[in-house]
């Protein structure tokens, strides 16, 4: 402890540079993770934060809710599958809307915007299936023409008490609750009752004979696992049942977004590995005469190796604090792109960074373990 900290204290500039480098890398990793989750959240948050554990798509839709329609025959067939507890309709569609009442007055009354409506069963046996999982404010829609809106858009005329008008000439929907991260396709999103959703569809297409749900929201019966339910549902022809997590991960676009951002994160981790590894190794080589001396006067191998590990840990921890502070300072400016500061995420990244530091310092540790105390007797510069 004494050794590790004294050395850092006496070589402040070097260690501060390393801490800053690690801090920057930690910040970049946090930023990329935030960007990834923010983007995915804005694209598919509605699906991720709805209550149905299983979602059934039309096979033609290629796991895209926008292109999916479940006809009446298939709905009936799905309801018969063993293991199904409750099953309900879930509709998704984009509408042009205007603000009849906007308390924030951010949006002019006649300005048209696109909003996504999700219609789920508010009443009946499947009541609440497909609703937002958690509300940050207000309450769930109790009946017709009430909505839970995406919290991210509250200042754009989607706050509690605001009234959204379905164009042209449709219903007036009042926002009664807010939920975080329920956007779909980066648009303002409203969760409404199936009846509200169906009425809105009919405004746009008065001749439609029946309004079909996009997907079916399913909950397993007591004692049935999600995996078993998905397998059972797959036997129905023409459908693709997916668990909620799979529906999110396999949604078109999400996979490619997360893949490219994960690649960037991977490169940052490799960079961190090299920066820490090379720095600690150079430091170890530079002080090999001191390390040899310490071995010669009775320091155990493990003492010196632990000193190195301790130093690495201290430096990485300092870097994590620096990176976390940078992220906390900058994140308020990034809320619009869905990036936010998350302490739990910082702790996870911090723990990962410490492991990266340990792995990075492995080369230096091996070098320390190989030091021969007898070399202390050899005049400097003539190490055998």
């Amino acid at each position: 402890m004494f050794l590790a900290l004294r050395e850092i204290q006496r070589a402040k500039v070097r260690f501060i540079l390393l801490v800053l480098a690690i801090g920057l890398l930690v910040f970049l990793v946090l930023f990329q993770i935030g960007l990834r989750d923010g983007l995915i959240g804005q694209f598919i948050g509605a699906l991720r934060h709805q209550s149905a554990p299983v979602v059934v798509f039309d096979v033609q839709a290629r796991k895209n809710i926008e292109g999916s329609r479940i006809d009446a025959g298939t709905q009936a067939a799905l309801a018969q599958v063993s293991g199904v507890g409750r099953i309900g309709r879930l509709g998704e569609s984009t509408f042009t809307v205007s603000n009849a009442v906007s308390r924030a007055r951010a949006t002019p009354k006649d300005q048209l915007v696109d909003a996504v409506l999700f219609g789920y069963e508010v009443t009946g046996p499947a009541a609440g299936l497909g609703a937002p999982t958690t509300l940050s404010k207000g309450h769930m829609p109790a009946g017709i023409n009430e909505a839970v809106a995406s919290e991210r858009n509250r200042a754009d005329g989607f706050d509690i008490g605001d009234v959204i008008h379905i164009e042209p000439g449709g219903a007036d929907i009042t926002v009664v609750g807010l939920a975080a991260d329920i956007n779909y396709s980066v648009s303002p999103t409203l969760f409404v009752s199936w009846d509200t959703f169906e009425a809105a569809k009919r405004v746009r297409n008065p001749d439609a004979t029946a309004v079909l749900p996009s997907v079916m929201a399913v909950e397993p019966a007591a004692g049935v696992s999600v995996g078993v339910l998905v397998a059972n549902l797959a036997a129905v022809p023409g459908v693709v049942p997916l668990s909620r997590a799979d529906a999110v991960a396999q949604s078109p676009g999400v996979a490619s977004v997360s893949q490219s951002l994960n690649t960037v994160i991977g490169l940052l981790v490799i960079t961190a590995l090299m920066v820490i590894g090379l720095f600690i190794l150079i430091l170890t080589v530079q002080k090999s005469a001191s390390l040899t001396l310490m071995r010669a006067i009775g320091a155990h191998r493990r003492t010196l190796a632990l000193t190195l590990v301790l130093q690495t840990t201290v430096v990485v921890l300092a870097g994590v604090i620096v990176g976390g502070a940078m992220m906390a300072a900058i994140s308020p400016l990034l809320n619009s792109i869905g990036v936010s500061f998350d302490l739990v995420q910082l702790l996870v990244v911090g723990a990962g960074a410490i492991v990266v530091g340990w792995v990075g310092s492995l080369g230096a540790v091996l070098r320390v373990l190989r030091i021969e105390p007898i070399n202390a007797t050899v005049p400097q510069g003539m190490l055998r």
Binding site: M294, I297, P373, I374, T377
Partner: protein
């Protein structure tokens, strides 16, 4: 009177006993016998000068005596403990607790102050605190370094550095202190001063010491001089101490 007889008279166990110690470096055609059947006994309060030409095996003998090197054959007893067949970990313990070293080259950790270089010894032994600090300060004071406690080695002169090294070697209260050419980097006057310090510190503590030197003018500080040539100990003569 042999040294063994002298020790017997003093009633204390020798600080170092070597019996027929041989060290061979390398194998086959390349084998070099650096030390050949060396037998020596050094009393608990004895200061011995070890002299010999370059390559004669002085450092090798010192390294074996200090537990830095395992002998090829023979018996080595340091501070009453037989280390002839000790494991590397046991040798580390011997170096930490029983012997003190002043090496020919690097003796101080550059990022530690004079005082911290001494405290490091106790730190490695798992003891720290007031007692260690008091002992380090007393040693440095005896060595005339009381104003240099908080200087880094780079801020000290060659003579001062050598004195800190002596303090560091004595910090673990060793039974035997081993000096490899402690004055070779210093001019004659400084060398004399350092030898005088070594003598007063070693004698004042009742510790044994082996001092390797090239310089025959330095041997008079020691109780006796042992000569080595081609790995063989030559003569064992009593000197008239300082």
């Amino acid at each position: 009177m042999t040294s063994t007889a002298m020790n017997a008279a003093a009633g204390t166990a020798p600080a170092l006993e070597m019996h027929e110690v041989t060290k061979v470096y390398g194998e086959g055609e390349n084998a070099i016998t650096a030390l050949a059947s060396a037998t020596i006994s050094i009393g608990s309060n004895e200061m011995v000068a070890l002299v010999g030409p370059s390559g004669s095996g002085k450092t090798t003998l010192l390294s074996i005596a200090g537990g830095l090197l395992a002998p090829t054959s023979g018996q080595v007893i340091v501070g009453g403990r037989d280390i002839s067949h000790a494991s590397p970990t046991e040798l580390t313990e011997v170096r930490r607790n029983t012997v003190g070293f002043v090496f020919q080259s690097v003796n101080l950790v550059p990022f530690l102050t004079a005082r911290e270089n001494l405290l490091l010894v106790d730190e490695l032994r798992g003891s720290r605190g007031k007692q260690s600090k008091a002992r380090a300060d007393r040693l440095l004071d005896e060595l005339g370094l009381s104003k240099r406690l908080h200087n880094l080695p780079s801020q000290l002169s060659g003579g001062e550095r050598q004195r800190v090294a002596i303090g560091r070697a004595l910090m673990n209260e060793p039974a035997l202190v081993l000096f490899d050419e402690p004055t070779s980097a210093l001019d004659t006057q400084l060398g004399e001063q350092v030898m005088e310090l070594i003598q007063s510190e070693v004698k004042g503590r009742g510790t044994a010491a082996i001092i390797i030197t090239h310089d025959s003018r330095m041997t008079h500080w020691c109780d006796r001089t042992v000569r080595i040539l081609d790995g063989r100990l030559q003569s064992d003569e009593l000197a008239t101490a300082g």
